[in-house]
């Protein structure tokens, strides 16, 4: 099981020294800079708009100062304008309304830019993450369940571009701070410094709280992942749960996961609020200090009522900005957790790929797919499309990291046009052997040679048109039957029909009203188990690979269908002039009888190999596998 191992990697990642798979995780700022560079104009316009907006938002303070400075004289002066109010008041009112109109316009501009920046940035990361996961050894691609991984695609990817918008707000706040500082210093330097001292205190507080913030946030995210993962598993197993009448028990388990999440989330949020409160209080203490100081100067007449209005307005503003600053700083600390969690999904790939720039095709159509064999893989040109003559496996070893089980020193060869069947008991390592051979698991040691040349990167090498593979439990996607078979391939005219026939699927398709356009439902649930397996087989055939690899293809097929399938696979040469080469895991007699070579696995090692007849004569394990039951009982059917 890869679960525990990955959990360790994640701890390393988030402690930020070695990243996932030994790759150093860059600082969050590095990722953020790449995100800015991805949509530079959106970011710049947003920054300018928010800065201008905050600066305009200073105007009420200046208006208030002007008003309260003139108020005492207005009581005595007789100068009046329209409605008995002085002209200067009219100007102040006009200025008030105009500055608000300006703010509203800029606010609209903000929304126009921050949406694209945030969601396109998140989309870029989501795309890179999925592409990254698909580059990993397929059988061990995820640290946990797909549902749990979704929380990394959702929360972690959304959080980071969102942070940049908060950062822009903070930059605007900084511009405000500079201008306000100049204005206030000119009024009263001593009082002004007391307004800005709290800012320094806040930065210190946040730095001290850093570790706790990260810990709480990570615990909260993990609890969320456990909840989403469980929902995913439950919804994928609805029939089993209904049939087992286990709904209430499942809900009880769900409840404990929910409670765990409640505890961690409330703790995370409470800590956030405590910090925010500290910021507010720092500023409130500053306000108090100003009242103390102003008490002296106001009586001395050096600090006017207007000055007091301006200062108290700016203080309210400074309070919000200081809180904002604190939030942005603590948010920045948490970004490390998010990037670490996303990097874990990528395995050994450099974490930098999370934000690798690439097209998103938001406003244009994506280009058509390159044909298979070109662009799909990163192999040298001379290795492409080479006809398979011989495949050698030498000393292939893989152990599951936690259970220690796996395969040891497996060696065999197969030649063009032959059928090799791997058989063995449950847990003897049959599937592991196929996965390690195809690079769906990373082998610990061993060599695989294609026509005598060693394969360096099995995962990118063993793809169509070299090989195709059907796992033991094939997965279909909620698309049409045809789309599931083609998976983006644009085959020549009759290829789909030929693949359907090979897979003994033509009758099923003919009986469906919508034919190949029939939607198969989530995981292909609208099809029968046998149909799913044959759709998966057709998916292989339509790619016309040199090597066909099946893991227990026929387990859901009845005897007649299975017989037809094998027969058609091997009559293929008569139609196309090509010869099928097949490596299959099976314990079915139809397959074993046809095999040119049978490889018997026992506890991860080759127990015997050869033709079936010879093995039945020489191998005790083969005899057990073949008979299954003691002689005599089988006659019971008669």
């Amino acid at each position: 099981m890869a679960v525990t191992e990955v959990a360790v990697t994640e701890q390393e990642t988030t402690s930020r020294t070695p990243g996932a798979g030994g790759q150093a995780l860059p600082k969050p700022s590095w990722f953020l800079w790449r995100l800015i560079r991805f949509r530079p104009w959106m970011w710049t316009i947003n920054l300018l708009a928010i800065t201008l907006l905050i600066v305009i938002a200073m105007s009420p303070g200046l208006i208030a100062r002007e008003f309260f400075d003139r108020l005492p004289t207005a009581a005595t002066s007789a100068a009046t304008g329209p409605l008995g109010l002085p002209d200067w008041l009219w100007w102040l009112c006009l200025f008030t309304v105009l500055s608000t109109v300006g703010r509203i316009a800029l606010g609209f501009c903000l929304q126009l830019t921050n949406g694209p920046f945030m969601f396109e940035g998140a989309a870029l990361m989501q795309k890179n993450l999925l592409a990254g996961v698909l580059q990993l050894p397929g059988a061990r691609a995820l640290p946990s369940s797909p549902g749990e991984a979704i929380s990394r695609f959702r929360e972690d990817a959304d959080e980071t571009p969102g942070f940049m918008m908060g950062f822009n707000d903070m930059c605007g706040g900084a511009a405000f701070a500079v201008i306000a500082m100049v204005i206030m210093l000119r009024i009263d330097a001593g009082v002004t410094l007391l307004v800005f001292l709290p800012l320094v205190a806040v930065v210190a507080v946040v730095n001290r709280a850093r570790d706790a913030l990260e810990r709480y946030r990570r615990a909260s995210r993990e609890a969320t992942g456990a909840v989403t993962g469980f929902i995913g598993e439950v919804m994928g197993a609805v029939q089993a749960i209904q049939v087992a009448n286990a709904s209430e028990q499942v809900i009880r388990h769900f409840r404990t996961l929910n409670e765990q999440r409640l505890r961690t989330a409330v703790r995370d949020r409470l800590f956030d609020q405590l910090l925010a409160s500290v910021f507010w209080n720092t500023v409130n203490l500053g306000t108090g200090a100003i009242l103390f100081l102003a008490a002296q100067s106001m009586r001395a007449g050096t600090f006017s009522f207007g000055d007091f209005a301006l200062f108290s307005f700016f203080l309210g503003f400074a309070t919000e900005l200081t809180t904002q600053l604190g939030r942005v700083l603590s948010h920045y600390r948490r970004l490390g957790v998010s990037f670490g969690r996303m990097a874990t999904l990528l395995g050994d790939a450099p974490p930098q790929t999370i934000v690798a720039h690439g097209p998103l095709y938001v406003r244009t159509e994506p280009p058509p797919l390159a044909p298979p064999g070109q662009g799909e893989t990163a192999v040298a040109p001379e290795e492409r499309l080479e006809r398979l003559e011989r495949l050698d496996v030498e000393g292939l070893t893989y152990r599951h990291p936690t259970s220690g089980r796996g395969i040891t020193e497996i060696s065999f060869s197969l030649e063009r046009g032959t059928l090799t069947v791997i058989t063995g008991r449950v847990g003897s390592g049959k599937t592991t052997l196929l996965q390690a051979l195809l690079g769906l698991l990373p082998p610990d040691s061993g060599t695989v040679r294609w026509n005598g040349r060693p394969v360096t990167n099995a995962a990118t090498f063993f793809v169509p048109p070299r090989s195709a593979y059907t796992p033991q439990v094939p997965r279909l996607f909620s698309e049409t039957l045809g789309a599931n078979i083609l998976l983006g391939l644009a085959p020549a005219g009759g290829d789909t029909t030929a693949a359907l026939r090979l897979a003994v699927l033509e009758g099923d398709v003919a009986s469906m009203a919508e034919g190949l356009d029939t939607p198969v439902g989530a995981k292909g649930v609208r099809l029968s188990g046998g149909q799913i397996q044959r759709v998966a087989a057709a998916r292989m055939f339509v790619r016309r690979p040199e090597l066909l690899v099946f893991d227990d293809l026929s387990s859901a097929l009845d005897g007649e269908t299975e017989r037809l399938l094998w027969q058609r696979i091997f009559e293929r040469d008569a139609l196309t002039g090509r010869t099928a080469t097949v490596l299959a895991v099976s314990h079915r007699r139809a397959a074993l009888r046809r095999a040119d070579e049978v490889i018997v696995l026992q506890e991860g090692r080759v127990a015997a190999r050869g033709r079936l007849d010879d093995l039945l004569a020489t191998s005790a394990e083969m005899q057990r596998l073949w008979h299954g039951e003691p002689a005599g009982e089988d006659a019971a059917l008669r």
């Binding site: 309304v97 994928g236 195709a468 008979h627």
Partner: protein
């Protein structure tokens, strides 16, 4: 007319009702916090008037200290309020998540066939999380701010009717404007949330099929497909935000009018000698204080609308009812082994799901006595699995009736029916949970003793001893670390522990090698003692122990009878199948008979060749 507040009220009642104590405490905290906020400007007025009157510095310092003290106290209240509101919010949303999950588990397969697990994750967790704010913040913020605004208005009326009137008019106009705006963003947010659900549904499904995608070279194709839901999520979310921004301007603009008006009012009052400079400050301060509640209320309305989109989707989900209904006066299912009867049952997958691929049953009738074992034979797609689904009442028949222990399934509770039947299928779903939870389906009432006994019976003893933490060992999702064969043995363990009256084995051993199959045969024999059994098979080898045989072809029952009679009748289909063998029928170039026909002759030949 549809009342937009109806669903909100129902949700509040259902999920905040049980927490009435905490909610009341929250209300008290809010009231106290609001009162503290209102006293701030009064203190300030006292300070300024005292300063103007030339009061002693010590007095001024006392007033300043009071201001600071009140502010600190208010912060303490805010922290407490946050803590309780988060607790209330999470408890409420967790209860809602639970109810939604329970509801989804009650829905029929037609519902689940149309939805990916990823989409349901988004609807059960994503939508509800969007609601969390509604439960935890909406009440606190909206009530708290309405209270604050009311307080400010009352205090200003007390100072002077003109000051009070101007604020009242302003607040009334603002609320009217906001009420007009309400709802314009809801459809946009709903589309945005659906786009998110689609995206994460797509990703989740692909993450489950990485092996298939990799080994078939479909990586580039999947990425290209991803662009479609990615784009939809970007565009819908951006549009929703821009539309949301349109409604922001109105309260801001109204505030600026109110500010201008208050300046004029203060000037007139002060010039008339009605107020002191301290009161002038206080009016100004209160005017500013009144903007924050309006802004917060507007923002909460915005969140409220996002929640509204979630609520609509949650309501949609909650009102999606199963096509299956439990009767009002359910009949109990008897104890012990149960008779199973199909009475002229026809079935077709119909309705919205447009099932065209599924098998169909035509007028199938049979009656299986208690404790008898039936072998159900048919080719892939002949309708075998549909028979078992009808038996569990995952669907109702289109015509005819299914009876268990003489009770029409439609007259019994589904729960009672399913408690009495156990099934092992070819696909086994394992959870990322302990071995114990996986075999007991999270039923804590089952002790370790029966579990260990069942594991031993099924030949999993050695496997169990290899587990690092015994029954507490965590299994991976989709059975990481467990082979498909072992997973099937675990599924057998589940049925053993459930102790049902009817056992259905649906191709249960198809992934097991013959040697392992042999290991569990004895256990299966024991499982079938005193229980009615239905063994669904496409291979004859698996039906050796059956009493009766039923053969389905294209959804029709073509043969039914005692196995021995049918096997002995040369004209029967069973006999024909036994002759050619269902599995290896007509294997060309191979003289062996098929698996179903493992005659003594073949065995003796093999035995001779064995050393």
């Amino acid at each position: 007319m549809y009342s937009p507040l109806g669903p909100y009220r129902d949700l509040l009642h259902a999920y905040l009702g049980p927490q009435v104590g905490l909610v009341s405490l929250l209300a008290v905290l809010l009231g106290a916090s609001t009162a503290l906020q209102l006293t701030g400007p009064q203190v300030l007025r006292a300070f300024i008037d005292a300063a103007t009157a030339g009061a002693a510095t010590a007095h001024l310092h006392r007033v300043a200290a009071l201001f600071v003290g009140l502010a600190l106290l208010q912060q303490a209240m805010a922290v407490l309020a946050t803590y309780y509101s988060e607790r209330v919010g999470w408890s409420a949303t967790n209860a809602l998540r639970e109810d939604l999950t329970r509801h989804c588990l009650r829905l029929d397969l037609a519902f689940h066939k149309a939805r990916t697990p990823g989409e349901l994750i988004e609807r059960i967790d994503g939508d509800v999380t969007a609601l969390a704010n509604f439960f935890s913040q909406f009440i606190v913020q909206v009530l708290g701010n309405v209270l604050l605004l009311a307080g400010v208005t009352v205090l200003l009326w007390g100072v002077d009717w003109r000051a009070g009137l101007s604020l009242t008019v302003f607040a009334a106009v603002s609320f009217a404007a906001m009420n007009r705006m309400r709802g314009i963003t809801v459809p946009h947010w709903r589309r945005a949330r659906q786009a998110s659900a689609d995206l994460f549904g797509f990703i989740e499904e692909r993450l489950g099929g990485t092996e298939d995608i990799r080994a078939n070279g479909a990586t580039a194709y999947v990425i290209r497909q991803l662009y479609v839901p990615l784009r939809a999520r970007i565009l819908t979310n951006c549009r929703a935000r821009v539309v949301g921004a349109l409604q922001w301007g109105t309260p801001d603009l109204l505030s600026s009018f109110q500010l201008a008006t208050s300046l004029a009012v203060i000037l007139l009052l002060y010039r008339g000698g009605a107020i002191t400079i301290g009161t002038a400050f206080m009016i100004n301060y209160y005017t500013w204080l009144s903007f924050r509640p309006l802004r917060m209320i507007t923002q909460q309305m915005e969140d409220f609308q996002k929640a509204g989109a979630g609520i609509v989707r949650i309501q949609e989900l909650l009102t999606t009812s199963s096509v299956l209904h439990d009767p009002d006066n359910p009949r109990p299912i008897p104890n012990g082994p149960l008779a199973v009867a199909f009475d002229h049952v026809s079935f077709h997958y119909g309705g919205e799901s447009q099932e065209t691929a599924g098998p169909v049953l035509h007028d199938v009738s049979f009656a299986l006595a208690p404790s008898a074992v039936l072998g159900l034979i048919g080719r892939t797609g002949s309708g075998k699995t549909t028979v078992s689904r009808l038996l569990f009442r995952l669907y109702d028949p289109s015509a005819g009736a299914v009876r268990l222990g003489g009770v029409d399934l439609r007259q019994a509770r589904r729960e009672d029916v399913r408690r009495r039947i156990g099934m092992v299928t070819q696909d086994v779903q394992l959870f990322r949970a302990s071995v114990r939870d996986n075999v007991t389906f999270f039923d804590e009432a089952i002790g370790d003793g029966p579990i260990l006994a069942a594991l031993e019976d099924l030949g999993l003893g050695e496997w169990y001893r290899s587990l690092p933490k015994g029954l507490d060992t965590l299994l991976g999702p989709d059975g990481m670390g467990v082979s498909a064969g072992e997973a099937q043995l675990l599924a057998f363990t589940r049925v053993f522990l459930k102790d049902p009256g009817v056992v259905v084995l649906d191709e249960a051993s198809s992934r097991l090698d013959p040697a392992t199959e042999r290991l569990i045969e004895r256990a299966v024999d024991r499982l079938l003692v005193g229980r009615t059994g239905i063994i669904i098979a496409h291979r004859l080898a698996t039906i050796r122990r059956v009493d009766e045989v039923m053969i389905l072809e294209g959804g029709r029952l073509v043969e039914y009878g005692p196995r021995e009679v049918l096997a002995g009748d040369p004209g029967s289909r069973l006999a024909a199948l036994l002759r050619v063998g269902l599995e290896g029928a007509g294997d060309p170039g191979d003289g062996d008979p098929g698996d179903g026909d493992l005659g003594a002759a073949q065995h003796s030949r093999l035995l001779v060749r064995s050393p």
